[in-house]
Amino acid sequence: MILTKILLGLLQIVFLMALAPLVQGIIKKIKALFQSRRGPSIFQSYFDLIKFLKKDQVVSEQASWIFHITPYICMISVLTVGALVPVIGVSVPLGFAGDALVVVYLFAVMRFFMALAGLDTGSAFGGMASSREMMVASLAEPALLLSLFTLALTAGSLNLSGMVQKLADLKIAVISPSYLLVFVAFVMVVLAETGRIPVDNPTTHLELTMIHEGMILEYSGRYLALMEWSAWIKQLILFTLLANLFAPWEIHLLWYPPKILVLAILVACIESSVAKLRLFRIPDLLAVSTALSILALITLVLKGL
């Protein structure tokens, strides 16, 4: 009994790991189509990973052990999150170990060490990116948690599987003004957290606009594979949360791919139609997101469901 549960949990993690590069590939492909290019195959991310994993790596002479442990920490934190989030079934075997807060804070662990690794090699690019990443993340955090709180108060549970279950039980009644406001706020935060336009540009490498890419600039070879892969898994987990919290019906293997596909298309559309914001306009975007979630909370309290 317990063994099958653990096996199911493991299966879920393997599933997330396997699917994450594909989602990245799909987004890239759709963006290419928007730009009238043929674009790389949707499986390109897998080929990249394999190539990175085969290569030797170059490590900076300034790097300390922080640089070496960061890829490991990123991977294990994101995999742990994978064990806590309902993906293709409402119940999660290890769900008792942590609620939505733990998910948010485990992502914070990842970010904390990535930012340190960015500073570790002594190059100004890394430092700049770390500083910006921490700024963006600090401002995204209240919006993210406040929208999760509003959902938790709607559902009466902060445990992700409980939350999804309760939201699904509400059927059509769940679509209330506060729910929609939270959805918009959540999408904005997800864009910031996954490093997408308008917050960060995932395709540039050597521009002064880069955030996520700047922190991992010194990584190469196998460490880079781990860093990229964990970032993709994080992205998939955030999409999964978005899908399961805002379309909490029919949570099983059959409906999961279409939901994620819709989100991938949505993100690709946003990325293709919006320009990247100047760095000091990003706080405005996140302030809007926070304001929306505050409104959502007040609507929820005053009007109920």
Binding site: T80, F96, A108, F112, S138, L145, F149, N159, Y223
Partner: protein, 673 residues
């Protein structure tokens, strides 16, 4: 037997203090005696308080009084034992650290006096938590303040330290005055200074009087705790003291104010007013947010840590504030949950802040600078200090599975439980305070990426940092003990929660451990229903269990090979001046919150040949400290003006003074019959 074990450490501290002074001519011997006694005393009192806490007994020892109204009685109940446990545990670590650390002062300062003050300081803190009589409490409270003043100005050759000491003395005495007034008002109604009488009579007083007493207590103890806007002394005083003392001041001394506040408001005033809780909650949120905001702009390592103490006192106040709200609404289990959240954070903050201050002491000893802009690359010279500082940083940034996360999680749960109440204002306010806590946590993480990254990583920025050496073993042991505690209280919270349950039983008569600890003692759940759950034990195991995945992935295709090469820097050789600085790192935050910081920037450029060849460029940036400029400066000026007026009375002639005395005497004879 137990009461003997409770008293014995007190005498050991005294013995340590006296012997330290006695041998002060021979520093090494003085250090051995002072810190030997302190170590023994702390360890003993830790064991005693732990055993008392586990058995859930409270202990009462009376001594004959030597002054009127001072029947000296000590009462070690759940709350006192909990605080004594924290004080002694932190004291064990700082004492170990001190053995080696105070060597820095040999030949420069009187180490005998340092050992004396250190012991008396610890003694006074423990007696404050034990005193069961208002007058005795005030005496020990003052002893604690005065002795810590001497420790703040220990480096009295520095102008900065003397000024810090003065601000500290003034601020804490304003607080003490209010506490004294509180106790005298109680005395008016009970005709006794015994806390037992306060307990009986206090809750029967009228609401207006109790509210007045609440405000006096909150401001009085709030000054010592360092809540905003009464915090001004803290960022001056804590960095000036020797680092082992800073650890104690930040870790436990300001917590004695939390202890006293809980004692007075819960037990003497019978917390039943909703707005009390709201005031504590709001001020807590303000302190947490502004504390971390100012910490971010600080580049003096110890001042940065001092500002984080303000932040953490704010987080503790959030828990206590929610507890007061629940108490006023008669939700006792939830009140117990929120109290536990606050008190657990008291302990966790003592552990990680103590650790961080000890690490900063180790850095200070190795490099002789507190300015992180002059540091860098220390991780290679001081690997152990770096590792411990990292543990402290991760804990204070509330990252799982370390201890800061657990208590902040409990605080979030109490706030969200507030969101499920029926009262509409609280339903909105509590989750919003939760969002403030989220912002605080994220900014704290940013601040510690800065503090750790700039201090320990990349290239050394000065000669001092290049020549740094690792701390001696005694210091490493002190830091290691606290780092271990940060891990243990993070990964095994259920043990500490069951200890805290005895505290809530003695405070609120409510036991929640059965409702909070999931079967098998693995996970925590916030009291009511299955709202959510947390098992840091499982999280830690999961994190470890996944470790093979990246390990295998790296070695999947070919043996792991790497080349060491220089950092890519656009083809130029990397030097320390190219690194990102702390100022640059926190600049985006400063830009975003310009309204709060009101930065004043000044750039002076002199050219060799305009416009391309610079001779020099000076960049200066200051932030305005709103509270000092807008709140305290006017008060200070008003006091100075008033004193100017009063000075006309002082003629300097002895005849006038005699006339004053005569007049006073006559007035007294008329009115004070």
């Amino acid at each position: 037997m137990q009461s003997f074990l409770l008293i014995l450490p007190l005498f050991l501290y005294l013995a340590g203090a006296i012997s330290s002074l006695w041998f002060s001519a021979r520093p090494s011997k003085s250090v051995r005696w002072a810190f030997g006694c302190a170590l023994g005393a702390s360890f003993l009192s830790f064991l005693t308080s732990l055993s008392l806490l586990i058995s859930g007994t409270s202990l009462r020892v009376s001594f004959p009084g030597f002054l009127p109204y001072t029947r000296f009685e000590i009462l070690a109940d759940g709350l006192s034992n909990y605080f004594i446990g924290i004080i002694s545990l932190l004291a064990c670590a700082t004492t170990l650290f001190s053995f080696a650390y105070v060597r820095e002062y040999f030949g420069r300062k009187s180490v005998g006096f340092l050992g004396f003050s250190y012991n008396i300081f610890l003694l006074s803190m423990i007696l404050v938590t034990l005193a069961n009589n208002a007058l005795m409490f005030i005496i020990f409270w003052e002893l604690m303040t005065v002795i810590s003043y001497f420790l703040v100005i220990f480096e009295d050759t520095q102008e900065e330290a003397r000024r810090a000491g003065f601000i500290y003395l003034v601020m804490t005495h304003v607080g003490s005055a209010l506490i004294l007034v509180t106790f005298f008002i109680f005395f008016q109604f009970t005709n006794s200074f015994d806390f037992d009488d306060f307990r009986q009579t206090g809750p029967t007083l009228s609401v207006i009087l109790r509210s007045l007493l609440f405000l006096l207590t909150f401001i009085g103890f709030g000054t010592k705790a360092g809540i905003i806007p009464l915090h001004v002394w803290l960022p001056h005083a804590h960095p000036s003291a020797p680092s082992n003392i800073s650890a104690l001041m930040s870790g436990v001394m300001i917590k004695t104010a939390i202890y006293a506040f809980i004692r007075v408001v819960y037990s003497f005033l019978g917390a039943d007013q909703l707005w009390w809780g709201l005031v504590v909650l709001m001020i807590g949120a303000l302190s947490a947010l502004l504390g971390v905001m100012y910490a971010l702009m600080e580049h003096d390592l110890k001042r940065l840590l001092a500002y984080h103490s303000i932040e953490n006192i704010g987080i503790i106040s959030m828990g206590i504030g929610m507890a007061l709200i629940f108490l006023s609404l008669k939700h006792y289990p939830l009140a117990a949950l929120a109290t536990i959240a606050g008190l657990y954070h008291v302990m966790n903050h003592a552990m990680f802040k103590g650790l961080l201050f000890l690490c900063s002491g180790s850095i200070l000893q190795a490099t002789h600078t507190r300015n992180i802009e002059d540091l860098g690359g220390l991780i290679k010279k001081m690997p152990w200090t770096a590792f411990y500082f990292l543990i402290g940083s991760v804990s204070i940034s509330a990252l799982p599975p370390f201890n800061g996360f657990v208590s902040e999680w409990l605080t979030y749960q109490s706030l969200l439980s507030g969101g499920m109440l029926s009262s509409v204002p609280i339903k909105v306010i509590a989750p919003l305070v939760g969002a403030i806590l989220a912002l605080t946590g994220a900014l704290a993480a940013t601040c510690f990426v800065k503090a750790f990254g700039i201090t320990f990583l990349a290239l050394p920025r000065s000669e001092h940092a290049r020549k740094a050496q690792e701390a001696p073993p005694a210091m490493k042991m002190g830091m290691g003990l606290l780092a271990l505690m940060c891990g243990v209280s993070g990964v095994l919270p259920t043990f500490f929660i069951s200890l805290l349950d005895h505290v809530t039983v003695s405070l609120l008569n409510t036991s929640v451990s059965e409702k909070m600890i999931y079967p098998a003692g693995l996970a925590l759940i916030p009291v009511e229903s299955r709202f959510s759950s947390l098992s840091t034990t499982t999280l830690a195991l999961l994190l470890l269990a996944f470790l093979p995945v990246p390990w295998i992935l790296i070695r999947l295709f070919r043996p792991f090979r790497q080349r060491i090469h220089e950092t890519w820097n656009c083809g130029i050789k990397l030097n320390p001046r190219m690194e990102y600085t702390a100022t640059a790192f926190s600049n985006p935050i400063q830009m975003v919150f310009k309204k709060l910081y009101q930065p004043r920037e000044e750039v002076r450029i002199s050219y060799l040949k305009k416009p391309y060849f610079l001779k020099s460029l000076v960049y200066q940036s200051h932030i305005t400290s709103i509270f000092e400029e807008r709140l305290y400066r006017p008060i200070q000026q008003a006091i100075l003006r008033l004193s100017h007026r009063v000075r006309t009375m002082q003629t300097g002639s002895i005849h006038t003074y005699l006339a004053y005395i005569f007049m006073t005497l006559i007035l007294l004879l008329i009115f004070a019959r």
